[in-house]
């Protein structure tokens, strides 16, 4: 019974591996090194599904209403079965390809390249390669399974070490630049030829992150406890010291980033900030008010084009500004409040007809509204207003007394300032009466009504404020690019923003930043991955939904539950250390609500 489930999990992972190979994420990356000259991105992609299969197979089961943890031995067996199946399925596919000849498959699946075939054969004959493949998959899976079944004192540091090390591997174009800038030695950390981490560097990174995680696990709860009781138990302040330090470091990094990382990376970070703004705005609509809006590009476009119109941009077709009756030549900082007001009004206008709609219907209608914008700005009929398909140029550079902000590093600071402002506003809203009303409305609209909360008003308010912040993102985007074409205002923008909000954790402002960094920043920093951007989006969002539905950096309400969870786990971990049997309890369930 159980074995069949493990095999099924493994087979699925095997199919995922085949998929990754077919889309080119393995064959195309055999020379992207993460660590030394051994660990490549291709290798990671090849074995990651097996690892995950092992992790999943070893997960605790609910049996007869009881949650049952696996012992390490059981977990290893389950994971081995699952991962071996994964390896076996993939190896079969390789053997099959080899049998009929990879050159006959290539016309259909372009990515079945000779380098892929060579890579998955490990330089051996295909049959030997297949055996190695199954063996390596099994090992990866057992690691995953054992990790899953290990007590938190082990699981958390190891997970932290692995994740952070891989992340450092990915940041091979970013961190070395910063080290150079700081005149620090870099060759011990990053390999001078292969670009990835050196083994020494990887070991140091892993050790440090594991150490921090361990400290947090062992002492976090205690310090958190005394901190929060001394501050009067306000949940917002009840942070673990690691979190506190991490937040301070994050803020410092956000401020120092452009100076450390130079112009090219600042350019990407500027885009991250624009998307962070959009995320903060959409988070109000989706995360706070619980209204699923798939047409957020509407406000992005509205902000960009109305800023262009208000600040004297010219039409690309005629090279002149649009009709003066509908355009102006205002200063950026005067135009911005007007843009936001226009967007807020538009939010009310869009919000009003969709008020009665819920869930799927709301999503569909907003999707349609967003699509209309794309069509409108590109339509020949609006050429005299917004330039139609060829767009507008000559948008203000937001200069303050000759100090222009188009340069990537300067733009970043401009955007960061607006992000900080929007984040502050959003945080104040969330903790106000309005925020309480949104929470109530999101959890149960009808009951919120019965509390005297005018849900109609609060929905409109969410659309208006969310729209205004979104338009700010659009306006900054226009400043950054300096010109506008309809191509920048496609439905994919709505999806990207929603993706980063969900990834970071609905309702969480730091989550929005992290989401933007991961979904917009990482692909931008790793140019090789550009074409896999949306694949990565999808995968990241699905993975988060399954593994960590509360998001990467959950909001306070949800993280409060999580903290209780952690405290329980900490107690459990302590009991184990002190040699007590923790009884039937075991580590409590992962929070999945």
């Amino acid at each position: 019974m159980a074995a069949r489930r493990w095999v099924r999990t493994g087979a699925f992972a095997g199919i995922v591996t085949i998929f990754l190979a077919l889309v080119g994420l393995i064959g195309g990356f055999t020379d992207v090194f993460l660590i030394g000259d051994e660990v490549t991105f291709a290798g990671l992609m090849l074995l990651l599904p097996a690892f995950v299969a092992g992790f999943v197979a070893a997960a605790p089961r609910i049996e007869g209403g009881e949650r049952r943890e696996m012992s390490l031995g059981e977990a290893a067996v389950a994971a081995a079965v699952a991962a071996a199946s994964a390896g076996f399925v993939f190896a079969l596919a390789v053997l099959f390809t080899d049998l009929i000849g990879d050159e006959r498959i290539r016309p259909i699946f372009l990515n079945v390249s000779p380098s892929l075939m060579e890579f998955v054969a490990f330089g051996q004959s295909t049959v030997v390669g297949a055996v190695i493949l199954v063996a390596l998959s099994t090992m990866a899976g057992v690691l995953g399974g054992v990790l899953r079944a290990a007590p938190p004192v082990i699981r958390r540091p190891v997970t932290a070490a692995v994740v952070v090390t891989v992340l450092f591997g990915f940041l091979q174009r970013v961190i070395p630049i910063a080290l150079d800038q700081l005149s620090l030695e870099r060759d011990w950390l990053y390999h001078p030829i292969h670009d990835g981490l050196t083994w020494v560097g990887a070991a140091v990174v892993a050790a440090i992150s594991a150490g921090i995680s361990l400290l947090n696990t062992r002492f976090g709860a205690r310090v958190r406890g005394s901190l929060s009781s001394s501050i009067g138990g306000r949940s917002g302040l009840a942070m673990s010291p690691v979190r506190l330090i991490a937040s301070v470091a994050a803020v410092a990094l956000l401020i120092a980033a452009p100076l450390l990382l130079g112009s090219v990376i600042s350019e990407v970070l500027g885009t991250v900030m624009v998307f962070a703004l959009l995320g903060i705005g959409l988070n109000i609509v989706v995360g706070y008010a619980g209204l699923l809006d798939l047409g957020y590009v509407f406000f992005f476009a509205l902000g960009a084009y109305s800023l262009a119109l208000l600040t004297g941009a010219t039409l690309n077709v005629y090279g002149v500004p649009p009709d003066p009756a509908i355009s102006g030549d205002l200063n950026f900082y005067i135009a911005i409040p007007i843009v936001m007001l226009i967007a807020a009004a538009a939010g009310l206008l869009v919000g009003a007809p969709v008020l009665r709609l819920r869930g799927d219907y709301l999503a569909l209608v907003t999707l349609g509204l967003g699509e209309m914008v794309t069509v409108l700005v590109g339509s020949p009929w609006l050429v005299p207003l917004v330039g139609g398909p060829s767009g507008m140029r000559g948008i203000t550079d937001a200069a303050i007394g000759g100090f222009a902000f188009r340069d990537p590093q300067r733009f970043y600071y401009l955007a960061l300032a607006f992000v900080a402002l929007a984040a502050f506003l959003s945080w104040r809203l969330a903790t106000s009466r309005i925020g309480r009303a949104w929470t109530a409305m999101r959890e149960d609209e009808q009951t919120a009504d019965a509390m005297g909360i005018s849900t109609t008003r609060f929905k409109l308010l969410a659309f208006a404020i969310g729209g205004a912040i979104g338009s700010l993102g659009g306006a900054l985007f226009a400043v950054k690019i300096g010109s506008l074409t309809p191509a920048s205002f496609q439905v994919i923008v709505s999806i990207q923003v929603l993706g980063l909000v969900i990834l970071g954790g609905l309702g969480s402002i730091p989550g929005v930043l992290v989401g933007a960094l991961v979904l917009v920043g990482l692909p931008g920093l790793l140019r090789e991955f550009e074409e896999y951007r949306f694949l990565a989006y999808g995968a990241a969002v699905v993975a988060v939904m399954v593994l960590r539905p509360q998001g990467l950096v959950p909001n306070v309400r949800r993280s409060r539950e999580l903290q209780e969870e952690e405290r329980a786990q900490d107690e459990w971990a302590k009991a184990v250390e002190e040699g007590e049997t923790p009884g039937e309890l075991g580590p409590p369930a992962e929070v999945t609500t």
């Binding site: 009504d449 909360i453 008003r457």
Partner: protein, 243 residues
């Protein structure tokens, strides 16, 4: 039957309510006077919840008026009706399950600004239901059914309403808890609240109410004092089940 006591605090005047083309309430007349406890009895799908929803403005009557304290409130938004002093303990309690008990209570007083009055209302709730105080930090969704009912009633009391509506407070509770819930309702009544309670458990409801209405397929078929309804042979047959 009614003794002289001025104008009713809540009145339904010839109210008919439709869902689409289907008439769910037909020509309903009811009066509730200050300080009274009135129950509305009826079988499944007879229109009891719809009556409450009509009062609270979730649905607008197609004919007739809902009058609160002399003012017509039908046609107003739910928030406005709540602001004018009607609170409801919804069917199935409907707490905000992911919020703590404390947050649920706070939302009950959402429209009130006067902190000391809110504090006083909280104290009243705690005195009436000491259990609620012990559970303040607990998530509402993790409470037992009986505790949830107390929080739902506490939440409604936090608004210090003129009229308190209750929709089948005994629904889905074990018999022993049903007794408890009716004890609680008695306590609320001792606070001097005007209560309009919808029930299927006619025996229990009539044992604590002053008067009762009985509706069948959206029409009031009986209206009398609780005492008389308990004696009424028709009632005994149809609703009291000769327990």
């Amino acid at each position: 039957m009614t003794t002289e006591r001025g104008a009713p605090i809540l009145e339904l005047r010839n109210v008919s309510t439709h869902y689409g083309l289907v008439a769910v309430l037909r020509d309903v007349d009811m009066d509730i006077y200050a300080g009274e406890m009135v129950c509305l009895l009826g079988g499944n799908a007879s229109g009891k919840t719809t009556t409450l929803k009509t009062i609270l403005g979730y649905v607008t009557p197609s004919e007739g008026d809902v009058v609160l304290d002399g003012n017509v409130v039908s046609g107003m938004s739910t928030a406005e009706v709540v602001r004018r002093g009607v609170s409801m303990v919804p069917e199935n309690r409907r707490l905000f399950p992911d919020m703590t008990v404390e947050e649920n209570l706070r939302l009950g007083a959402y429209l009130r600004r006067d902190r000391s009055a809110i504090e006083a209302a909280r104290e009243t709730v705690f005195e009436t239901f000491p259990r609620v105080r012990e559970r303040l930090k607990q998530k509402a969704g993790t409470l037992s059914g009986g505790e949830q009912q107390m929080v739902a009633m506490g939440r409604a009391l936090m608004a210090d309403p003129k009229v308190l509506l209750m929709d089948e407070p005994s629904m889905g509770l074990a018999p022993i808890l049903v007794e408890q819930v009716f004890e609680i309702i008695k306590k609320i009544r001792e606070l001097g609240k005007t209560v309009f309670i919808v029930e299927q458990n006619a025996n229990m409801a009539l044992s604590i109410a002053d008067r009762g209405y009985v509706i069948q397929t959206g029409q009031v078929v009986l209206a009398d004092t609780a005492q008389n309804l308990l004696q009424n042979p028709l009632m005994r047959e149809a609703y009291l089940g000769e327990l």
